[in-house]
């Protein structure tokens, strides 16, 4: 028997085929689009009702999020307690999720109980009334939670970063206690009626979405749900980045500083986006990234540091974020600058790049764990206005992009002096 060779890695295979499941599509008579992903693996289903947010009004900045969060707080026929009781009794989860571009209601439910829960969702989406008493509770509790959040340096840094980069838009919003106080029930009702219309709704079903289940959903949401005649205004004001690029929020007693550095950036529809995802991964997009290797694994300044690209409908950002020992804030920023400049000055070695290629493809494959993940991938494409060829282009880019192209991209897109820099803590 030969001696086991533990020094050398076993032979391995590249990821060749990534198969994405595409949905069935049906457009209902009232204009609502329904996409479904069927799998019999488990007797459960997730259904999302997704509505584009209305145009941002700086004088009423919280309307989109408050209306969304309060959808489950009462309809003309059901109190908030009755809604909660019924959803919980059938072991379902009904949640309101707010995103910068859209608001959604998500239902997780065992398939066998769907017929009990669907009528409640219908009421919530078509007939929410935002009871005064529940609104008071919402405002009071949100104000308290905000007080706690504002004690966290990472949250302060993120709020300041978004506000600086996006200005007074839906993306730059940083709610204040006063914003909560000014919420009015009538405004919320008006907002609700304009936004939660079938023509502004996309339904995505994933799980045991067989024929009967689809019919149940279609029947429920195609009938007695009409558009108001006034289309939802889903345009958005242009982001207005601030001229000030350095923001220091001093916290004399901080043990750590939260640092956020970045810039307005291209979003997913731009042809360079997949290429920049490779560049981002090299810099700070995975555990073995340059930022982690240098600032955590070599210097021990932080528990974690990473970079990312946020792709929104009307904007995008590139950012680096970390919480670091308060005494090493300056050193950390200097190291970040060094790593950015290295990408501009030197070619990424082929060995490192091939690791990143394989990691990214394995990560994509691993992200397709079950039917819900396939629906998530579709959602990303659909709301960016892209088709499935995006993922072909993505895998193709990951496999073939060259060190020379990446260096060019770094020079085209990264200018550290022009980056916005936010520090909450000590500097």
């Amino acid at each position: 028997m030969s001696v086991l060779n533990r020094k050398d890695a076993p032979r391995f295979n590249g990821v060749e085929n990534i198969n994405l499941i595409q949905p069935e599509h049906k457009k209902l008579a009232n204009g609502c689009n329904v996409f479904s992903f069927n799998s019999d693996a488990q007797d459960l289903v997730r259904i999302e009702w997704i509505f584009n947010n209305l145009r941002f009004d700086p004088s009423e900045p919280l309307l989109n999020v408050a209306v969304n969060t309060m959808l489950v707080e009462g309809t003309s026929r059901l109190t908030t307690a009755q809604i909660a009781e019924k959803v919980d009794f059938y072991g379902a989860f009904l949640q309101a999720d707010y995103h910068h571009d859209y608001s959604q209601i998500t239902l997780y439910c065992l398939s066998k109980h769907l017929n009990q829960i669907l009528p409640i969702v219908k009421e919530v989406i078509t007939d929410s009334v935002f009871p005064e008493k529940e609104l008071e509770t919402y405002v009071r509790n949100q104000q308290q939670k905000l007080q706690v959040s504002l004690q966290k340096n990472d949250i302060l840094a993120r709020r300041a970063f978004n506000k600086t980069i996006f200005g007074p838009t839906i993306y730059g919003l940083s709610a204040t206690p006063e914003n909560y106080k000014s919420l009015k029930r009538e405004d919320m009702l008006r907002h609700f009626r304009q936004m939660y219309q079938p023509a502004n709704c996309t339904i995505i079903i994933a799980g045991k979405a067989n024929k009967e289940l689809l019919e149940l959903v279609t029947d429920t949401f195609e009938h007695s749900w009409e558009n108001t005649g006034q289309a939802a205004d889903i345009s958005q004001p242009e982001p207005e980045p601030s001229a000030e690029r350095f923001i220091y929020i001093e916290k004399p007693e901080a043990l750590q500083s939260a640092i956020r550095i970045g810039t307005p950036f291209v979003n997913r529809i731009h042809p360079d986006f997949p290429k920049l995802q490779v560049l981002n991964t090299v810099l700070g997009g995975y555990f073995g990234s340059r930022l982690m290797a240098n600032i955590r694994e070599d210097k021990g300044y932080t528990y974690g540091i990473g970079s990312g690209m946020s792709s929104l409908k009307h904007a995008g950002t590139f950012f680096i974020a970390s919480e670091v020992g308060a005494d090493v804030s300056r050193q950390t920023i200097a190291e970040v600058e060094k790593e950015i400049n290295l990408l501009k000055d030197q070619l990424i070695p082929e060995e490192e790049l091939s690791l990143v290629r394989n990691y990214m493809l394995g990560s994509l494959l691993g992200s397709l764990e079950n039917i819900l993940s396939h629906a998530d991938k579709f959602k990303t494409l659909y709301f960016a206005g892209l088709g499935y060829e995006y993922y072909e282009r993505y895998t193709d880019t990951v496999k073939n992009i060259t060190p020379v192209e990446l260096k060019e991209l770094a020079n085209q897109y990264f200018n550290f002096d022009q980056f916005y820099k936010v520090i909450a803590g000590k500097y």
């Binding site: 086991l4 533990r6 020094k7 890695a9 076993p10 391995f12 295979n13 590249g14 990821v15 693996a41 488990q42 007797d43 459960l44 489950v72 908030t80 909660a84 009781e85 959803v87 919980d88 009794f89 072991g91 997780y108 439910c109 065992l110 509770t137 009071r140 509790n141 308290q144 939670k145 007080q147 706690v148 504002l150 004690q151 966290k152 340096n153 043990l255 750590q256 995975y286 555990f287 073995g288 694994e297 070599d298 210097k299 021990g300 300044y301 932080t302 528990y303 919480e323 020992g325 091939s354 690791l355 394989n358 990691y359 493809l361 394995g362 990560s363 494959l365 691993g366 764990e369 079950n370």
Partner: protein
């Protein structure tokens, strides 16, 4: 129903294989039967620090992460008071890379001084980020020593103090490895697009030659039943007052555990739960209030936590929580209310089975508790719980002389103090 096969290598390593051909991925999960409870009281935080060092290179492989990323894999790990768990997910075609990496670090680490020095700093930053630089972040550092006087659960996984982490020496690291990191103290689960026969061959090849090592015999001081009310008040730079009431409860392995978990669900799961309905919505005393249990392998904690609204004193807040607890001690819950939390548990379990990694981790954990097969019988145990049992457990647990109350008082800003004085 999660199907699996089981075998044990001659060195004592227990292996479970869970075949699932619907995914192109594989997971390799290794649970080591060691947690913060196994630490020396003068060297706390060590199990967790050690977890970090497991990524600092092994005897034959200088870099752990690189080769895994090269084959499209990802990994992570966590440490609790009871266990340390490491996991890899990767394309199944590259499963052998996971065996190569995991077996080498079970065989021996590189024990590099540089890695120890860096990871000490990283863990100290983690200590600050999660426990010290957050409002209420230090609650577990304060609450645990109130509930536990003898058992090592009296310190948190991160450790009692940063000093213990600063003091860690390479000799301690070596001794810890020898004591806990060997095949006899580990359970490996391989799942996903794999075949049991292939896993047997790979396990024999890579793990078979590792010496069995010494069996660690756990002999921890058990926590005596609490006999007196405990209470502490701290003034802290937090924006709101906060009330914690913790009780001792039975261990995860006890039959009463399932009853107690449903008891906590009745109090605090979902927006129809009692604490939320009564204290947040109807009486409007709290902005948030929660109940949860730790599910520890030794005697556990049942914790209630709530942030009262600004006009509500902490005495009133405490009394309101106790009022809800007393109701559970005197009146049986209705059949509907019990069915509700049972249904919720059932659907949660179905949803959690969608994740291959969750299935693998659960199989390892149930095997540690005695039998992986019990993972498939969890629902029955929750369904068998009766209203009488809920009331019985409420009476057993919710006693003043079994309670530890920790009150955070928000420190008033200076300008407010000036006005009052």
């Amino acid at each position: 129903m999660v199907k699996f096969n089981r075998f044990t290598l001659s060195n004592g390593l227990r292996v479970i294989v869970h075949e699932d051909s619907t995914t192109p991925m594989a997971v390799l999960n290794i649970l080591y039967d060691v947690g913060a409870r196994d630490e020396d009281p003068e060297q706390t935080g060590f199990a967790h620090l050690f977890e970090h060092l497991m990524f600092g290179g092994s005897v034959n492989i200088p870099n752990y992460d690189g080769p895994l990323q090269m084959v499209g894999g990802e990994n992570n790990a966590f440490t609790s008071n009871d266990i340390t768990n490491y996991y890899i997910t990767l394309p199944s075609a590259n499963l052998e890379t996971a065996f190569w990496l995991e077996s080498d670090r079970m065989l021996s680490l590189a024990f590099s001084e540089k890695s120890l020095e860096v990871q000490r700093n990283v863990v100290i930053e983690e200590f600050k980020q999660r426990y010290l630089n957050q409002p209420y972040g230090d609650v577990w550092l304060k609450l645990r020593p109130m509930v536990y006087k003898k058992h090592p659960y009296r310190w948190a996984t991160i450790g009692k103090t940063i000093k213990h982490i600063e003091d860690a020496r390479i000799e301690d690291v070596k001794a810890f490895f020898k004591k806990h990191y060997n095949p006899q103290n580990a359970i490996m689960v391989v799942g996903g697009d794999v075949k049991t026969e292939d896993v047997k061959i790979l396990a024999e090849k890579w793990f078979g030659p590792i010496p069995a090592g010494e069996k660690y015999n756990r002999n921890l001081p058990q926590e005596p039943a609490q006999q007196e009310e405990r209470r502490e008040t701290v003034t802290a730079k937090v924006p709101l007052n906060d009330v914690y009431i913790a009780f001792q409860m039975e261990s995860r392995a006890d039959t009463g555990y399932y009853v107690v978990e449903l008891l906590s669900d009745i109090l605090s799961r979902g927006h129809s739960s009692r604490l939320f309905r009564s204290l947040v919505k109807e009486k409007q005393l709290f902005s948030e209030v929660h109940a949860y249990i730790t599910g520890s392998l030794d005697k556990g904690m049942f914790v209630l936590e709530g942030k009262p609204l600004e006009h509500v004193s902490t005495d009133e807040a405490e009394a309101a929580i106790w009022h809800e607890l007393e109701k559970l001690k005197t009146e049986e819950v209705s059949a509907d209310e019990l069915t509700k939390v049972q249904n919720k548990t059932e659907s949660t379990m179905v949803f959690s089975e969608m994740s291959l990694l969750d299935r693998a981790m659960n199989l390892a954990y149930y095997e540690l508790m005695g039998d992986a097969e019990q993972f498939n019988h969890e629902s029955e145990k929750y369904l068998a719980v009766t209203p009488a049992q809920i009331k019985e457990q409420a009476n057993k647990i919710f006693r003043k002389d079994n309670s530890s109350t920790l009150i955070y008082l928000a420190e008033m800003p200076e300008e407010v103090v000036d006005i009052i004085s």
